[in-house]
Amino acid sequence: MKKLFMILGMFLSLSMVAAACGSTIDEVASDAADAAGDAADAVEDAAEDTADAVEDAVTDDEDAMEEEDAMEEEDAMEEEAMADHLGDGSLGQVVVEAGAEVQIRSLNAITGDVAFLGLPNQRGVEQAVADYGDIKGFGVTSGQGLDDLCSADGGQAAAQQIVADEQIVGVIGTSCSGAATAAAPLISAAGMVMISGSNTSPALTSDQQGNAGPDYHVGYYRTAHNDLFQGAAMAEFVYNELGLTSAAAIHDGDPYTNGLADAFANAFEALGGTVTTVVGVAKEDTDMVPVLTEVAAGSPEALFFPIFQPAGDFVADQAPGVAGLEDTILLAADGLLTDGFMELAQSEGMHFSGPDVRFGANTNESTGVSADEFLATYEANNGEAPSAAFWGHSYDATAMLLDAIDAASFVDGDGHLVIDRQGVRDHLNSIQGYAGIIGTINCDAFGDCGSQKITVIKHDSAADIEASKANVVFEYAPS
């Protein structure tokens, strides 16, 4: 009996601890639920309020098509629906019944350590769908946001779920290049398209010399930059601006980090600098002293580690304590350009490269929404500013996909919307001079559509992250 009481007592004390700590979680959860509810309301409101605006948008679309394809437009004048769309039917068609919705999906990293990157992407997709309105009288839905888990496993599992649903036309995602390498082949083979707002690995598109990357698949597009440009930007900054001639790079084996570290190393050597070490760490490593000592043996003046949290925390924290790295300049990329990392004391004084997010008055030509308007809606819906930089890229990607669906579809005699899968790809392939929130978008032959503008910022104070994000010390645009 006494023992029973002892055990009960222990359970009681444990559950009290759990309750004390659990309350904050509940609060967060209920806040999130509220926020989600608000978002849903806002979407409905937006849909009602902008019923007129939608008509305008549709007219705009037709205008855009006129400019792009005068021949198509002539056919359209004949009012023969069958001829009024892109595509030859070679990849099959999606038939949307009257009253049903056009199905697209968001596939982003929305849980785990990288949720800071995926959540703004998903919300960008949802806002674009709401702003865009109907396609030929048919509503559009991005359904339940899918999770790529920022891993190849997650990307593959979600892609299998997507390709099993033949109503889905295209996917906006993934967030992580690692997930895309697994998802892209499946999406491509199913005849769907995939436009990512934040994949940056060169392997997913091309080497910019006309050779497809090892993980390129037809039907893959992205509005994010190719990391060959980010690597080149960082290399130019280190070599020309900082005037340093030796550098090392650390990656974590992920396609994104690996590709960027290599791109930086190659560009830095091409400029005439010396790359002392390019080495990998494991994502779950905590003790970085051995690997940093390996780096220190080459005495680099700069250390570029385009990795994620938490591994990045440990590198930044432990590097100054390793003999030979005390004065080495620490640099990171957009994976660590997050509030969670920049709040840490050890990130002070570092430089970060990332996409140029000074969107100013840029406006998406399909929805007519400007960057400022987007951000106002975003903050109203979610109660916070976007936690990562790629919301605009995801927004433009979604608008481009919906434009493509519009261009590749017709309403048949039974009132069904028929979408030609090949036509969607044809439209995306032909995009040139598209005005998006991120700037002018041109798609090349391997799906690279981004504006490729990169900025480097200097992070002076962990207490004022916003000031650091605006503290642009170097800009890069491909020549």
């Binding site: 700590c21 785990g112 350590d113 000592t293 938490p310 440990f314 304590g321 003999a323 030979g324």
Partner: protein, 375 residues
């Protein structure tokens, strides 16, 4: 375990030759790697170094770098040793591997996270008040980890007492998943950051070149181990534990409460893991629900390397494992021309395990098993 050693005079079979070859190969690689390391420290441009580094000169390690590796290896190894004690003691008494022990360590680190965040909000995680605060935090982490281990024993393992050994082993894997997911449910799946350490803790001791926090970790670990040794070897309860480990039936005939002794074993092992947990937090300032997994596996390896059931062995195993993990990539692999040797850290650890088992199947300091296990 003894099956791996050939009986004297018996003819060598193919397997024996293979094992012999493996032993010679591994030891040969270590010797060559060490010699190459020494050679390139003396002359980075020697012929062998040039051959392994594609014609370029090797780079020397400076003394501060070398010292940094040793210190990081020691502090990491001290934590492995603390965790390994729990594995070793439970194995010694009950004869099964408690795979959930890594989670006890994680619970300790999480308790430290909660305490340190609260103290930081109160402004007590800084300056000199940090010293009493950290002692109190260590105490609470120890108590919570102990409670976790004891509840684990009561709920999951005691009902299985007397069943075949495989059953508690599998149960322990289940317990491990249960605790991990319970923590995810309570705190979410993301990494939780400790508040910044007081500045004096991050400083380097002049002359010695050791960071204060690493010294703190090593000292606290050493005190805990010494305390445990005193408890097991010099107190009556410790004597009872050793008696139960030796032979449960005879111990109970001698009037020892076996169940109570087993609970004590779990409690003491849990306490050591709890201390390791808070030290981990101070050193790395970050904890996540899966924090216990890899250190748990490494600590288990350390327990086997040192000799299962042997407390001194577990400590020495932990320290040597931590040291090997820190030093081997740059002292053995890099001189042999392996690219990116630090990525092979985990491989080094488990190769070390294989090597120890090949050369000395009972671990460096010998197993201490109960009568029924030896039979």
């Amino acid at each position: 375990m003894t099956a791996a050693v050939r009986v004297k005079g018996a003819p060598r079979t193919g397997v024996d030759w293979f094992l012999l070859l493996l032993r010679v190969l591994l030891i040969g690689l270590i010797v060559i790697g060490l010699l190459a390391f020494i050679a390139q420290q003396i002359d980075p441009g020697n012929a062998f170094a040039k051959w392994t580094h594609d014609g370029e000169e090797a780079s020397r390690l400076t003394w501060p770098q070398f010292r940094g590796l040793i210190v990081t290896g020691l502090s990491q190894g001290a934590m492995y040793g603390l965790i390994a004690l729990g594995y070793s003691m439970v194995y010694g008494v009950l004869g099964f591997i408690n795979f959930a022990h890594g989670e006890v360590f994680m619970v300790g680190a999480f308790t430290g996270f909660i305490m340190s965040t609260k103290f930081d909000e109160a402004g007590w995680w800084d300056g000199w008040i940090f010293i009493p605060v950290i002692l109190f935090t260590i105490l609470v982490c120890t108590l919570v980890a102990t409670a976790t281990a004891v509840i684990m024993e009561r709920v999951a393992y005691r009902p299985l007492r007397g069943s075949p050994r495989l059953i508690p082993l599998i149960t322990s894997i289940g317990v491990s998943f249960f605790i991990q997911n319970a923590v995810i449910l309570l705190f979410g799946p993301g990494a939780k950051g400790y508040p910044p350490n007081p500045e004096w803790l991050e400083e380097t001791i002049p002359g010695l070149g050791i960071e204060v926090k690493k010294l703190l970790v090593i000292i606290v670990a050493a005190i805990s181990m010494a305390g445990l040794w005193y408890f097991v070897e010099r107190t009556k309860t410790g004597k009872a534990m050793r008696a139960v480990a030796e032979d449960k039936e005879i111990a109970s005939l001698m009037g020892i409460d076996v169940n109570r002794t087993i609970v004590t074993t779990f409690a003491v092992g849990g306490a050591m893991a709890g201390i390791a947990g808070i030290l981990w937090g101070i050193l790395f300032k970050s904890v996540i629900a899966t924090t216990g997994f890899l250190p748990g596996i490494k600590a288990f390896t350390a327990a086997v390397v040192g000799g299962v059931g042997n407390l001194g062995g577990a400590m020495a195993g932990g320290v040597s494992l931590g040291g090997a993990e820190a030093l081997a990539p740059l002292m053995l692999l890099e001189p042999l021309g392996v690219e990116g040797p630090s990525q092979l850290r985990d491989a080094v650890v488990f190769t070390l395990l294989i090597l120890v088992l090949l050369v000395k199947p009972t671990g460096l300091f010998g197993e201490r098993l109960s009568a029924e296990d030896r039979a």
